[in-house]
């Protein structure tokens, strides 16, 4: 829908941005062919999770925070368990860490397979949705469903449920899967490695807009492997690195009037978390096959084009399948599922790499293990400023497109992030205001 303003400007409303999780709004204002204002309006009401965690027991956050999101609950469980175990000065066993990593592989597979093929690929192949894409690319869609099912099966076995796992607790798990149960999943996971590596070639062949951004990339890093369920430190392309415990000293949350989700600054500046940051800061930790796939995709060890996030995400998908197979192959029965965790007063931070970027939790508990303070910072909140920066650049770069085409390009720029607005807080209403020499809209856009 297009509105003509009294001053000659125009407002274009897109009823809904499809293929994202959650609801929000976008306002773009253009005067004399210059983008003068961009706002990501997240108007979904605050969900008060941090508030109602206060007064709860230290054992409860893995189950409570997992309900924040249906697509990345393990990210919340991992960050909260790590924070509590840090506060209580508990080291779990290597086997518990390994099983947490396997569960996290399941979440990455579920989330990445859904976004790459069913939500993001239609942008590059010129379809409104995967429904239309499936008519011309049935094999790709069948493969996507197969990959996602492998992730669901893994989540169901290790986590107890495909969505909102129930088998995670502070100190480990309630039950460990058996070798026999894991072996039953192995063939589909092994096939997933090959399918996803082949998919890297497919997505690398898409036509990518020429657009690069230079904001600071931030990611977890672990000395031994590509970061998923945990890391030992935060690293940034600015050269800054510090232990996970120091995250609150570097990341400041702040409120902006147009969003119900807090924005964030990293050492005072806009930053980016997510697959592009993870990849660019941890390329050396990828498996040889994933590195080889990246080289064949002509990606380089650093990727600055947000539209190419689909390639990076597909490489990460292959990595998650490889990791899952590796962990299953070395698993033996008989490991205790958890270690006891007694409460101890203190404050601590836990962080993990959700499919769409670094998530961190900070808790303060008392001697009885009652939560006194809680802070939950999901990736989409942290990325709001970089989404706005991308939108500003995209709108300026393609300012001469008609409103329908410009709107579509801006939606693509948003989907590059696989944003989870539900995590930050649903619906995205895109508004473009044109004034001065801006081209008149020749098509209303809506969904």
């Amino acid at each position: 829908m297009t509105h003509q303003l009294k001053d000659g400007g125009q407002v274009l409303n897109v009823g809904m941005l499809a293929r994202v999780e959650g609801e929000g709004g976008m306002h773009i204002e253009i005067k004399d062919r210059q983008v003068v204002d961009v706002k990501l309006n997240i108007f979904e009401p605050p969900r008060f999770y941090e508030g109602f965690l206060r007064g709860r027991k230290y054992t409860e956050p893995p189950d409570i925070t997992a309900r924040i999101c249906g697509i990345c609950p393990v990210a919340y469980q991992s960050a909260s368990t790590e924070a509590m175990e840090t506060i209580c000065r508990i080291e779990t066993t290597p086997e518990i860490q390994l099983m947490r990593r396997l569960l996290y592989c399941g979440e990455w597979i579920e989330s990445h397979a859904l976004h790459i093929f069913m939500l993001h690929a239609p942008d590059f192949l010129g379809y409104e949705s995967v429904l239309e894409m499936a008519k011309d690319y049935p094999d790709v869609v069948q493969m996507a469903l197969r990959l996602k099912k492998a992730g669901n099966d893994l989540m169901e076995l290790v986590g107890g449920r495909a969505i909102h796992p129930v088998n995670v607790k502070v100190g480990g798990f309630y039950r460990m899967p058996t070798v026999a149960e894991l072996e039953a999943l192995r063939p589909d996971l092994a096939r997933g490695v090959e399918d996803s590596l082949a998919a890297v070639e497919l997505v690398a062949g898409f036509d990518f807009p020429d657009m690069e951004q230079d904001y600071t990339y931030v990611s977890l890093r672990h000395p031994d492997w590509y970061p998923l369920e945990r890391g030992t430190e935060i690293v940034a392309t600015s050269g800054v690195r510090f232990p996970v415990a120091e995250i609150p000293q570097h990341i400041e949350e702040f409120h902006v009037e147009h969003s119900n989700a807090l924005h964030a600054r990293f050492d005072g500046a806009t930053y980016f978390v997510g697959p592009l940051a993870r990849y660019s800061l941890n390329f050396d930790q990828l498996t040889p096959r994933c590195q080889e796939a990246a080289v064949k995709a002509e990606l380089g060890e650093t990727c600055r084009n947000p539209f190419k996030s689909i390639i990076v995400r597909t490489i990460e998908l292959a990595y998650a399948f490889e990791e899952a197979v590796r962990i299953i192959d070395q698993w033996r029965d008989g490991h205790p599922p958890s270690v006891p965790v007694a409460p101890r007063a203190g404050e601590g931070v836990g962080a993990s790499e959700a499919p769409r970027g670094t998530i961190w939790h900070r808790y303060r508990i008392d001697d009885d293990g009652v939560i006194q303070d809680a802070q939950i910072v999901p990736p989409t909140s942290q990325n709001q400023a970089s989404i706005e920066a991308d939108l500003r650049l995209a709108a300026q770069q393609w300012v001469d497109l008609d409103d329908h085409s410009l709107t579509h390009r801006c939606e693509e720029a948003i989907r590059n992030y696989d944003p989870c607005i539900s995590c930050a807080t649903h619906f995205l209403d895109l508004r473009v205001v044109r004034d001065g020499a801006g081209k008149p809209a020749d098509a209303g856009a809506g969904s």
């Binding site: 809904m16 941005l17 499809a18 293929r19 994202v20 999780e21 959650g22 609801e23 309900r67 249906g70 697509i71 859904l114 976004h115 069913m118 939500l119 409104e128 949705s129 995967v130 429904l131 499936a134 008519k135 049935p138 869609v141 069948q142 469903l145 197969r146 996602k148 099912k149 669901n152 449920r161 495909a162 969505i163 909102h164 539900s422 649903h426 619906f427 995205l428 969904s447």
Partner: protein
């Protein structure tokens, strides 16, 4: 014809801890005690899983919570099989409806239709929900469970009859 094709399928869709969304799994659990081996009863939480779950079955019924604006506890039946009219695409693209990342039951049905994996007889039995908040189901939905179980059984029987009639017709 493989074994799966000879069986009929009921899927209880929903999340057991999200208020009235639990009605699908709850009705499925009740059905397991009522139906014989010829009916496979499953539960699923993720709508994308439907596309592969019903692939190979000729008759399937999905029981799910719905929001249509009717009184909570109201039952609706929507035919969605291979010969039925396509479901409205807005039900697929609308953000946040029915599943994560906007992929709901309608999306699963229409994607299956495109891929040729849709059961010949598929019906969606809906129970009008009042709340999807964490916690138990609401009273109107709890009160509708017996009727929902009976409706799923009757819908399944109609689907099997329709299939039988169509096969008889094609032989005539």
């Amino acid at each position: 014809m493989n074994a799966a094709r000879e069986a009929s399928l009921v899927i209880g869709l929903g999340q057991p801890d999200r208020g009235d969304d639990a009605v699908g799994p709850v009705v499925a659990a009740r059905l397991r005690d009522l139906v014989g081996d010829s009916v496979v009863v499953l539960t699923r939480e993720d709508p994308t899983a439907l596309v592969q779950t019903w692939d190979g079955y000729r008759v399937a019924v999905v029981i799910d919570s719905v929001l249509t604006g009717a009184e909570p506890g109201t039952l609706t039946i929507r035919q969605a099989g291979a010969a039925a009219e396509p479901l409205p695409t807005h039900a697929f693209t609308a953000a946040g409806r029915g599943g994560s990342h906007a992929f709901g039951v309608a999306g699963a049905v229409e994607l299956s239709r495109t891929l040729g994996t849709l059961p010949e007889q598929l019906a969606i039995v809906g129970v009008e929900a009042a709340s999807f908040d964490h916690g138990p189901m609401t009273d109107p939905v709890i009160a509708a469970i017996d009727d929902a179980v009976a409706t799923v059984v009757a819908t399944l029987a109609r689907g099997i009859s329709a299939l039988t009639e169509s096969e008889a017709g094609s032989c005539a």
